[in-house]
Symmetry: none
Subunit: 207 residues, 4 copies
Amino acid sequence: MKDKKLSRREREKLRQRQEMLAAALELFSEKGYHNVSMHEIAERAEFAIGTLYKFFKNKEDLYKSLIKEQADRFHEALTKALEEADDEREKLRNYVKAKGSVFIENAPVIRLYFAETRGASFNIKAGLDSEIRERYERFLHTLALVFESGIKRKRFQKIAEPYQLAVALDSICNAFLFLWLEDPKSHPYPEDPDIILNILFKGLLND
Amino acid sequence: MKDKKLSRREREKLRQRQEMLAAALELFSEKGYHNVSMHEIAERAEFAIGTLYKFFKNKEDLYKSLIKEQADRFHEALTKALEEADDEREKLRNYVKAKGSVFIENAPVIRLYFAETRGASFNIKAGLDSEIRERYERFLHTLALVFESGIKRKRFQKIAEPYQLAVALDSICNAFLFLWLEDPKSHPYPEDPDIILNILFKGLLND
Amino acid sequence: MKDKKLSRREREKLRQRQEMLAAALELFSEKGYHNVSMHEIAERAEFAIGTLYKFFKNKEDLYKSLIKEQADRFHEALTKALEEADDEREKLRNYVKAKGSVFIENAPVIRLYFAETRGASFNIKAGLDSEIRERYERFLHTLALVFESGIKRKRFQKIAEPYQLAVALDSICNAFLFLWLEDPKSHPYPEDPDIILNILFKGLLND
Amino acid sequence: MKDKKLSRREREKLRQRQEMLAAALELFSEKGYHNVSMHEIAERAEFAIGTLYKFFKNKEDLYKSLIKEQADRFHEALTKALEEADDEREKLRNYVKAKGSVFIENAPVIRLYFAETRGASFNIKAGLDSEIRERYERFLHTLALVFESGIKRKRFQKIAEPYQLAVALDSICNAFLFLWLEDPKSHPYPEDPDIILNILFKGLLND
DNA sequence: GATGAATGAGTTTTCATTCAT
DNA sequence: GATGAATGAAAACTCATTCAT
């Protein structure tokens, strides 16, 4: 509702901000935080350097804003995926599919995102990540609730703690996405979510 | 064999090199590649800056050497773990245990290692990682062979491609190690490797 | 006369100008020329930056106008003090009193004023001060005339050239004002002008 | 003694430092702190900018060192002048002469020095001056002791507090030096110190 | 006429790397 | 062979000024 009430001026500002963030995203994913200069970002975005500093108080602020915005979008999409089914198994299927499509659509950000959630955020002094990490943590707990509910309702066996299962599933998805990222042709992200889920669902052991 | 033939001079050189790498490792893990200067490394290692450049042609070379050396140690230990049993399940147990102990003993490097294998190596221009990645890839194939053999020998069900299973197992271990890294107390890495392996071994589904 | 003929428009303009100068004065005395930005001045004066530039063609012009205006007020008050008595000694008493009260009432400007008349006007490129200095020089000559007249009328001994005496008296007043500026409590500016004048009037030597 | 024990390396360093300070002094006195860039100083001193930063941790540090060094030299010379006579009047004569010669020999610094002791040190954030001011204050007290002793020994009349007399004498000297600074030809600093001292010594009044 | 968004030259500072001693 | 002083390119950031609305 209120989003519509933006004045032309405000809409213009928002558009500029998006252009700056887009340019920064491109450059950061290409070269990494420390190998991109503010001048480069300004140039790519086709703004003067001073204008960049009108929108973001410094380089770190720009980076933070970028990461936070993307993380928000991802978590929103994934959380929504978990809500769009009643059946726990279906929720997980939705999640695996959503994770794939969201990430594949946003390939350039993935590396940045991983650098901040898991992996080493050496890009930036410190403390930046805490907010992102926390958000990620919260999502893992939401995912764990699906496993917990499935176990309570006797649909799943309790082969591990729900949180551990959430971590396991998420990390497997990430791993597949990395394979895809590095070589999309020989390692496509599975269309059928069950290919991933079966790693958890079907026991490996023949007994 | 030939390793033993090092002259005193050569042994001394090697020792110096190790000291430099150790100092660099400490600093890089504390502050990240871009927040560490060559001067700092030289000072911590108690060598002159010029001497550092006698051993490594530039900062990137130093970093690469460091990461490569550590990655070698890790992969050696993990590969050895896979060889120290005949039974496939036992191999995997060894692997999960070895991964845990090696990483936990080398906590400071883990972040750097992850940044380079999985995750985003933005630290360095580009191309650095290719060698490390390749080495990692090779290891995953070795791990995959264990699954393949287990499947061929009908000990494991083929719930996914062996390579995918390798990726899945490794990523779950990584995920558990991250949890431990962030909060060792509430997320200890399981003593019993079956806790991790069961996620693959026991199917989740009740049917 | 012609001052009264200002149209409402003109009076309004003058008021705005005064507000801008007042804001600038506050900021310059607080932080010094180079540590104050035009934006800051505009903000404090509650005008848009563009409006500021309608009134003053650049930062230096604003500063010059400010200093000139204040210097005018000071010199006017001091010149008037010299005129308000017939007796030379009384003139000097008036001057010492006026200098004290004018400066103390305008404490914030004093430092700026000193920086420009005596002391180092490093604030601004160069040449700014010439006008101010000249005005100050003119005043010193006016003050020297009082000494000259006193000497001619045999009221004063000619212990030095009139101009030198003027310089001496003025510098002693300044010195006392500095003492007061730095620590008003332990160094009050003397109520009784003779305390300062006696330094010239009574010879120090016992003979 | 120990000054002689400087190694060639140390002497070389000291010489470089002096060259840098000399270049900085020239530029600061020509254009003022804020109108001089570190690049300019480096260029004038014929060093690379990085070398400048090896000697001074930042621009402010360079400025402080410069001012402090000069202030030290001045105060040393003036204090020594006060010690080189037993008779109070002779001490003051020495002081007036020393002040003249020291300042005239160091004309370029005078403005900077005044800016920091009396006058408006807006050049630098804050706190810089406190040290210089304190040193100046100490000197004034030393000068006041001469007046005090002269008064106690009945050589001087107590026409004002000793500290006030010190302030007065110093400010008169400063004023004469300013006249000289602005126009050396028409306002030479008096060869004969009594010309200045008589302003205090001989009473102005004919009675 | 007033506004304030946009500009970009210019500033301080860091640090990888070289090379004379 | 080791040293560390010297280098200078390049980075982040500021702010006086302009000009389209």
